[in-house]
Symmetry: C2
Subunit: 440 residues, 2 copies
């Protein structure tokens, strides 16, 4: 077997995911080599610090601090970019693609910010860019959408794309505990980053929604063009109110396309989901994505969305596809990248036109006439109230007023919220949640 | 574009699935051709009757009654075998593979009966056999297991693999209706075949479990080697008993592997699933499969398992992979078929050694001492009783006695059932259900 071809991998980044790839690849290498019929070698590993102690033992001779040199090394066929960040990662990725290499990436922020440039570089220079690990970690979702469901157009894709937020929301609901204490505990357990804002403000979910929108519709949507709202202002009382209405609360990324107008919308916000729905039952750090195709109907995918092992599983799947590509030719996997799904004139729907039902929580002065004033403002904005829940507030002299509405649109609800904010009897910024009418 | 290569497809079978493929392929053809860079033509269609009226209009010149001629036609590159049955389908499949063609199949019974021969023929003669539509219809499950989760070994794969049974069970539970009347209604609505036995006795699920066992472990397990039990003897009372214990009832195919002993077990039986579990919530004609990998953890896939459109979606995905293969080379998709997952000494565990907890429903004479006799028999067989529910039976003078047990094994429970049957006070064959301790 000494005349077998050797495929060489360069690993950029030896953090949590990089160490996972090193560990599992080492364990699986003999089997993968047997199945693929080639030697597969992690030839070099780029790290920020040569001296840092790590759980995995990488021979010192393989280590370098120069990731860019690794991208340009003619002896390396596949570059695994697991550094994170967008500056150095972009440089490494583009350099490798321009040399016709295969790049495997778990970097959703990079793809979201520079996807158009990256895929153009791959096409122009014969490189390939694989990114299964970038969305929904261990779930082979990108393969499902791009290959398994190739016969479908996607009217709706939505899901729980951030395990940290889902863990926090699940704990708040199960323990009746406030956001701040659950977040603190999540940090202690390693389920939330020290800098949590990317997760809890919805931006990580937005990055992933952007990638899914491109996969499904061939359009790059930047987070700035979306409605992006986080989970920080949700309280245990909101879970109780939602439950009394028959709902749970999940942070969702939602991508819809109206094939009559050819408008797409991409948004991220906490959403009330019917308690009986499958996604409402998905708890803890799991991700879950519902994909509705016009031929296949609705399919749902559930699994761990992050973490060392789940992400390594996806990266190794991409490495395997990359080795098969280098040995045997392109196959079906690469159809999507050559001719990304035609956008066929799809354009972003103006966010203010998105329609839906709403949940509005107000903290109001507990005195006569307030409900009448609130109801008048809703009516003036053509918002039809579906239900009202009034409870004592934690604030002395205040009441919590929860309204749900019949279908309306973002423009109307925002105008209503602005008017409500201006009322002297409204004592806090209103909390707006959307009601997800997403089931089939 | 006139010098583009043309890929020719032969469609064998124009029943429900064949018509779905014709319809959707026609609609998608221009887009698929643009993305794949080739002309793709359904060149001939083999049918049993040339004169039969069909919902789709296939030009008469394309029709033939000779499926085998279509398999040997040198002008045809891809043979879609959608005839069903195992005799003619086997002949067509083997003939096409031996000529190095690609065969796309939705025929789980064929694969289960002749998979070893089919894959051997493909390997020997350079043909390829794709079968995404054979298990879980529209869900790209085979691609997920074979490619997306390539880094994993699978300790457990289980799921709802037959939509007809799941529809019947869901209706029985929701409407508190007996099996026979729900089955009749399901036939009227087209959710069950006129000849329902393949579905309700568990054999269709067993075919699919056999394919999944091969994908995951490289071993062909025939239904005769499995425990296969159906849903015909379940009553509305069983749903109530299960609910009172916190369970729903689903017909599951279950494939497990113990990596210490390297024994696998494959079985099909109605199973009590905890009400809060995701699979317990999957209702109607949907399929749902839980796949536990040693790296990725548990992933779950849900979607329509059968029907014209969902199956056509999977067949067209395979056709796309086949076209890409013929144009661009093998790619990763075909890794699995060249070197099927090494069985590494895996062997079937003797079914009688399978361990689990049990639900036993007895119809007994309603007189003193019966419970004592039943309990004595259970104890003699080292079955430890966990709970007892006694209710009046529909039979006059009888009582329904439901026992659940702590963990035991198939040998013990079968021996206990034999002894119970021999008791004069036991008036019907006992109903045995398994309790699924399948969650992570």
């Amino acid at each position: 077997m000494s005349n077998r071809r050797t495929i060489n991998i360069g690993l950029c980044g030896l953090g949590t995911v990089g160490q996972g790839v090193w560990k599992h690849f080492g364990r699986l290498r003999a089997e993968l080599e047997a199945r693929l019929g080639a030697r597969i070698v992690i030839r070099r590993v780029a790290v920020r610090s040569l001296s840092k102690a790590r759980a995995v033992k990488v021979p010192r001779a393989k280590l370098t601090t120069d990731a860019l040199a690794l991208a340009t090394d003619p002896g390396i066929d596949i570059v695994c970019e697991l550094m994170g960040g967008t500056e150095a990662a972009r440089a490494v990725t583009l350099r490798a693609l321009r040399l016709g290499k295969v790049v495997v990436s778990a970097n959703k922020a990079l793809i979201c910010a520079h996807g158009a440039e990256i895929f153009a570089a791959a096409r122009r220079h014969g490189g390939h860019f694989l990114f299964e690990a970038s969305v929904a970690g261990g779930i082979p979702l990108i393969k499902a959408i791009r290959e398994g469901l190739v016969a479908n157009r996607f009217a709706r894709i939505y899901g729980i794309l951030n395990g940290t937020c889902n863990y926090i929301l699940t704990q708040m609901e199960d323990l009746d505990a406030p956001y701040a204490s659950v977040l603190e505990e999540a940090k202690r357990l390693g389920y939330a980053e020290a800098q949590e804002s990317l997760d809890v403000e919805g931006w990580d979910t937005a990055h992933k929604a952007s990638i899914l929108a491109w996969l499904a519709h061939g359009v790059w949507v930047r987070p700035e063009q979306m409605i992006v709202e986080g989970i920080e202002r949700i309280t245990p009382a909101d879970f109780k109110n939602a439950a009394s209405l028959g709902y749970g609360i999940k942070l969702l990324g939602i991508i819809t396309r109206d094939f009559e107008t050819d408008e797409i919308s991409v948004r991220v916000h906490p959403t009330l989901l019917p308690e009986g729905s499958v996604l409402a039952r998905v708890s803890g750090v799991f991700n879950a994505i519902s994909v509705s195709g016009d031929v296949v109907g609705t399919t749902v995918y559930i699994g761990r969305g992050a973490g060392q092992d789940a992400t390594a599983s996806a990266v190794i799947s991409d490495i395997t596809d990359a080795v098969a590509l280098l040995l045997h030719g392109k196959g079906a996997h690469f159809m999507g990248e050559e001719l990304p799904p035609a956008s066929r004139g799809a354009r972003m729907a103006p966010p203010e036109r998105i329609r839906g039902r709403y949940y509005v929580r107000l903290t109001v002065a507990d005195r006569p006439g307030v409900l009448a004033r609130v109801a008048t403002i809703m009516a003036r904005n053509r918002m039809s109230i579906a239900s009202v829940i009034q409870n004592p507030s934690e604030r002395p002299g205040s009441a919590s007023l929860v309204l749900t509405t019949h279908e309306s649109d973002e423009r109307s609800v925002r105008a209503a919220l602005r008017s409500l904010c201006a009322l002297g009897s409204v004592r806090e910024e209103p909390l707006l949640l959307r009601i997800g009418d997403l089931e089939d």
